[in-house]
């Protein structure tokens, strides 16, 4: 389907979608069990500062708020209308808005998904045009905007950040928020787009590219109708902000019946790769790498210094370091030998025997323990000064390190890592991997330290291969950026 509502609003800015001063809510019940009730409770819990107007044909008060019979009758213009009533009733409700609503989010489904409800879909489009509003959805979760106190997820709202996400799957947008926030990401916005009958990926992308509170953009896409426009937006932006793309259904489209040889070789997968190569976007294959890539971009304070890929590995666990060096090597990221001058400088530090002072640097826990971790800082400062690496990738085997003095050694090491970040030049990326076994005893500590490190500008990962892939993404981005902005 390519039906699209005419762009009615002269002001095409999506600002109010993220920062509505007034919200109308349809789908609120007296029994307090509707989606609208939940939505209002979440707004209140998140300390939403604007006005809330429940819409109900007969009730006059709901959730302790005065209710209004229609969208046209609220005391002031509605920036954002949340609509979660049965699909059949939606068109009539919107048609009566009389220009009083700027954006409507229709949560309800039944508008053409799976080929059913096509007539209702047309009714919805007609109603949106008649009511004079822009439509988000239908069949979507709407806007997640922590800065405004808007959420479609239960529980404590996290602090806002600088990652803007658009998603063509509601469920995946929940995954992105939950996984992302657990990993220390903060969002300027996450929008679940649903069926994209009006507002689609291009408009959201354009918004995030312009939006000063968004530094990094992520998109989960399934079916893009204005692919050409999406490509041109990305191309013209010249990677001014990193864009991470997760595309579902890249191979399902399959090969086209082709009259030419070239046509038979081309699949959707190759074209998405081409788009990424031409626009400096990062195309990832999984939700995990979507988050990992957003992590390295958001937590890096400055993306400006070129990143050549030369990486110093440091950690406790020689085998893990060797495997990490292999993983980096496969991605074309160099773990170079250090100069003899650097090695001599490290030997002069008096590191006890048992530590490997080549790159990868391997310093076992018992040696770290002897100086209460301080040797780690001394080694890395010396290496950073002499080698000027593109990145230092530090990994900590938590169960081992936490075995020393009831976790005190881990606290000391984390203190040293944070201190190191303050001292290093922005041209040296510092990445942290907090390795664990997934046991509950370590998870809470890992989560807390991840938040702390991320806030300090240290991208933090769950495992070394993830960090390696994120470094690869950073290098791809950096190369593109500097080749196009030379």
């Amino acid at each position: 389907m390519t039906i699209t509502a005419a762009a009615t609003a002269e002001d095409t800015s999506l600002h109010a979608l993220f920062h509505p001063r007034t919200i109308a809510v349809a789908g609120v019940s007296r029994k307090s069990d509707g989606q609208g009730n939940k939505f209002i409770r979440r707004l209140r819990q998140a300390n939403y500062q604007g006005r809330i107007y429940p819409i109900h044909p007969v009730e006059t008060e709901l959730e302790g708020l005065r209710a209004y019979p229609s969208l046209a009758q609220t005391p002031e213009t509605v920036d954002y209308a949340f609509v979660a009533i049965p699909a059949e009733g939606v068109p009539a409700m919107l048609a009566q808005a009389r220009g009083n609503v700027r954006f409507v989010q229709v949560m309800s489904s039944g508008f053409g998904e799976g080929g059913r409800g096509m007539a209702l879909q047309q009714d919805l489009l007609d109603a949106v045009r008649q009511g004079g509003m822009r439509l988000l959805g239908p069949n979507c979760l709407g806007t997640y905007s922590p800065a405004a106190g808007m959420s479609f997820i239960d529980g404590q709202l996290f602090l806002p950040g600088s990652v803007g996400v658009l998603s063509q799957s509601g469920g995946l947008s929940v995954d992105i928020i939950r996984n992302g926030e657990y990993r220390g990401l903060g969002f300027s916005g996450v929008v679940s787009l649903g069926n994209c009958l009006d507002i689609g990926p291009c408009e959201l992308l354009a918004h995030y590219l312009e939006d000063p509170s968004t530094r990094v953009i992520g998109a989960y896409l399934e079916d893009i109708r204005n692919g050409r426009q999406f490509f041109e937006l990305l191309r013209d932006a010249k990677a001014a902000k990193p864009v991470v793309l997760l595309k579902g259904g890249r191979t399902a489209q399959g090969l086209r019946a082709a009259a030419s040889h070239t046509g038979s070789l081309a699949g959707s997968e190759q074209v998405w790769k081409a788009l990424a190569a031409q626009t400096g976007s990062i195309l990832v294959d999984s939700l995990e790498d979507f988050i990992n890539t957003l992590v390295i971009f958001e937590s890096s304070r400055s993306l400006a210094p070129p990143f050549d890929g030369r990486t110093i590995l440091f950690g406790n666990g020689g085998g893990a370091s060797v495997l990490a060096a292999d993983a980096l090597g496969k991605l074309g990221i160099d773990v170079p030998p250090m100069s003899s001058g650097t090695t001599q400088a490290l030997q002069a530090l008096g590191v006890p025997a048992g530590a490997g002072l080549e790159n990868p640097l391997d310093v076992p826990a018992n040696i770290l323990e002897r100086s209460k971790g301080r040797i780690a800082g001394s080694i890395l400062e010396a290496v950073a000064l002499r080698e000027q690496p593109g990145a230092i990738l530090m990994h900590i085997n938590m169960p081992v390190i936490m075995g020393y003095r009831q976790g005190a050694l881990l606290d000391e090491l984390m203190h040293i890592v944070l201190e190191l970040r303050r001292e290093l030049s922005p041209a040296v990326r510092l990445l942290l991997v907090l390795r664990s076994t997934g046991q509950a005893d370590y998870e809470e500590t890992r989560r807390e330290y991840t938040q702390l490190a991320m806030q300090a500008g240290i991208p933090t990962f769950l495992d070394l291969p993830s960090a390696a892939r994120a470094l690869h993404a950073l290098r791809t981005y950096s190369r593109f950026f500097h080749s196009r902005h030379a």
Partner: protein, 238 residues
């Protein structure tokens, strides 16, 4: 652009003849308009004085069947390589004519081309992606495309940087750059050919409404330049 107008005339003509694809001489004429030459050639029929043409083209020649029903000339037996005199040319024409009679294919003539010596075979193609529009492809010829799928794609229009990165992306790029003592082809030769197809002023981007799909296979590249040995241009469906 004047050559765009000329190209459009060729497409109009083919459309009036209800063709699905341009014949090879027309396809090569369009490539020529956009800066990709074809071998020197002559269109002949069975009665031609092959000796005179042979003298004109010099050395060995290639004979190719021109028939609107034959889409894959090599598979059909519609290509004869390395012909050296008029007897060989006549014999090859006779065999192709016989095959056409058997398969009920029309013969519109024969293409006699100088046989190009040396150089690397590459493939440049174009097709329309349903989401992103015209896309250009680059691959190394022969097994590299067929079996190893050593190919790269970009959405049109491509820039010079894009074209160079397409070449860099090929695992076989080293061969074009003289690996293992082979002929070294300057990158610009390949890059210019790619831009002639998929660049802002390239034929596929300029004529993307008229061209459905495009194959230049093989395109021979050498330090002297690029020459299209075969070209297939499928018309856009209405």
């Amino acid at each position: 652009m004047q050559y765009a107008d000329t190209a459009r005339h060729i497409f109009e003509h083919a459309k009036r003849q209800k063709r699905q694809a341009l014949d090879e001489p027309s396809a090569k004429r369009i490539l020529g308009l956009y800066g990709i030459p074809a071998p020197r050639s002559a269109i002949v029929d069975c009665d031609v004085d092959a000796g005179a043409v042979l003298k004109e083209l010099g050395g060995r020649v290639v004979l190719k069947l021109i028939s609107p029903e034959v889409l894959h000339k090599s598979d059909f037996g519609g290509v004869a390589l390395g012909l050296e005199d008029s007897d060989e040319i006549r014999a090859a024409m006779a065999i192709m004519s016989q095959r056409c009679r058997e398969k009920d294919c029309r013969i519109e003539g024969f293409l006699l081309e100088e046989q190009i010596q040396g150089g690397h075979e590459i493939v440049i193609g174009g097709f329309h992606d349903p989401s992103f529009g015209p896309v250009v492809m680059l691959g190394l010829g022969g097994i590299f495309v067929e079996i190893l799928r050593d190919i790269s794609f970009r959405i049109c229009p491509i820039t010079r940087t894009d074209a160079l990165e397409m070449l860099d992306e090929l695992r076989g790029a080293a061969l074009l750059r003289g690996a293992r003592g082979g002929m070294r082809v300057p990158d610009e030769i390949v890059v210019d050919a790619l831009l002639s197809v998929g660049g802002e002023n390239g034929l596929f981007f300029q004529l993307s409404d008229a061209i459905g799909e495009l194959d230049i296979n093989p395109l021979i590249v050498s330090p002297q330049g690029a020459v299209a040995l075969d070209a297939r241009i499928v018309l856009a469906s209405e």
